[in-house]
């Protein structure tokens, strides 16, 4: 009798505590959801603005599995997408594309600016990574590495070469001591350009009009 009463007490306590914890978690989630979305959107928009200088308007396109583009209202939605940027007069500046690839430690997520008219990559920014501090994480800060992406030819397969061995405009000069991370960036851009550039070219007139 006592044992079963103790058991009931334990179950009752665990149930009440679990319920209380559930309420607390769900309450926090509901109350912070809007702000988290807003923060994510701000970060996204800031990254796009840094990659396309002079931008004053952005249109976000979701890339459908069929290869079509669909305008999205918010940057906080999931799924593959690209950001088209326009200046104050409405002139098309270029697109920013999201890409990711496995690096040395974990997945490297990045955004890069792509100019469809010249078919070149004009900027690169890491969004998220866990590369080794002081070595691999220099892919987001090393000025000479980021110089590679000022005008990277995307008509030819992009390749990462050893530090100091860059000869062609489609090659990325790796960071000495961070070759694995540098190569991951090269692979990421090559794969992404291969997949997304044809979609951009096919819908270019529409993107330029911002429709």
């Amino acid at each position: 009798m006592n044992a079963s009463s103790d058991g009931f007490k334990m179950i009752r306590l665990m149930t009440i505590v679990s319920l209380l914890c559930g309420v607390l978690i769900v309450g926090t989630q509901i109350n912070t959801q809007a702000r988290i979305r807003r923060n994510q959107e701000i970060i996204m928009r800031e990254s796009v603005a840094q990659l396309l200088p002079g931008i004053s308007k952005q249109v976000i396109y979701g890339i459908q599995p069929s290869g079509d583009l669909k305008i999205q209202a918010s940057a906080a939605t999931a799924g593959p997408r690209l950001f088209a940027g326009y200046d104050a007069s409405g002139k098309f500046l270029g697109v920013v594309i999201e890409a990711s690839e496995r690096g040395y430690a974990d997945l490297i997520s990045a955004m890069y600016a792509y100019a469809p008219d010249t078919q070149t990559i004009t900027g690169f920014q890491v969004v998220d990574m866990k590369e080794t501090p002081g070595l691999g994480n220099r892919i987001s800060t090393d000025p000479s590495f980021l110089e590679n992406f000022k005008s990277l030819d995307a008509t030819h397969p992009i390749a990462t070469v050893k530090h100091g061995a860059k000869k062609n405009p489609w090659e990325i000069d790796a960071i000495s001591g961070a070759t694995v991370s540098s190569r991951a960036v090269g692979r990421m851009l090559q794969k992404s350009v291969q997949d997304v550039a044809p979609v951009v070219q096919r819908n270019l007139n529409r993107i330029k009009r911002g429709e």
């Binding site: 007490k9 306590l13 926090t28 988290i36 080794t132 501090p133 002081g134």
Partner: protein
């Protein structure tokens, strides 16, 4: 590690009504006397992983402080209702809830801090310090004292993380909180940003901290002896 270190559970064993002195002791205990990193050597995973910059160290410390203080207070509140057999399960449930709430709050307050701390926030739950405080203190003391103990332990943890982060960031990157300390000609000692640098910095701090504690204990003993000897002479 040191001679005057009391066992962890002993100081929390008496559920006395909290006097201001008791409350003060509960708070300062974690800050210095039983500092979680320098004395108890607990929570080594975040201590090593996150201290490669001062900003990360402070943010991780504050997140852990929130988790310890809130779960300590909540556990203390229900301590008389929790049967002994399910106490660990109950504590873990409450701690996991606090960690999840911190996860959402950090994401809502600053996405930049979240990007840095992201993978480490869920790991707060596995920090043994976070489970040790409810078990050793909050389950035996009043809500107020438990809250103060949690705050003291958390801030002590933040202090230790900041000490390590300072050494690692200054030597490993030549900066403090992102500001250059040594000028453009300084060649950063990258080793200090890597895992071995974490161990070396921790060893340096433990050595300094222990040496200082032993020195102050010796001084205290000498002072006590100096006071005792004249008293004996007078008695004679």
């Amino acid at each position: 590690m040191n001679d005057d270190q009391t066992p962890v559970a002993c100081h929390g064993a008496t559920p006395a009504s909290p006097s201001p002195i008791d409350a003060m002791l509960a708070f300062t205990n974690g800050l210095w006397k039983q500092n979680p990193v320098f004395v108890m050597v607990l929570g080594m995973c975040p201590t090593m992983a996150i201290t490669n910059s001062v900003r990360n160290a402070i943010a991780m410390g504050l997140a852990t402080t929130f988790v310890i203080a809130s779960s300590d207070a909540l556990i203390s509140l229900i301590r008389k209702l929790v049967p002994k057999q399910v106490r660990i399960a109950t504590f873990i449930l409450i701690i996991a809830t606090s960690v999840t709430i911190v996860d959402y709050l950090v994401k809502a307050i600053s996405i930049n801090v979240y990007k840095t701390l992201g993978p480490f926030i869920p790991l707060i739950v596995s920090n043994c310090l976070v489970l040790e405080r409810p078990e050793a203190f909050a389950s035996k003391n009043t809500v107020g004292k438990s809250l103060l103990d949690g705050l003291g332990m958390g801030l002590g943890f933040t202090f230790a993380l900041t000490c390590l982060g300072t050494v690692r960031e200054v030597l490993g990157a030549g900066t403090f909180l992102g500001f250059h300390v040594f000028g453009p000609n300084f060649e950063p000692w990258v080793l200090f940003l890597l895992p071995p640098g974490g161990f070396i910095s921790l060893a340096m701090w433990l050595l300094t901290f222990t040496a200082w504690r032993q020195w102050s204990a010796r001084r205290k003993l000498q002072r006590e002896m100096a006071q005792t000897v004249p008293a004996v002479e007078v008695a004679l």
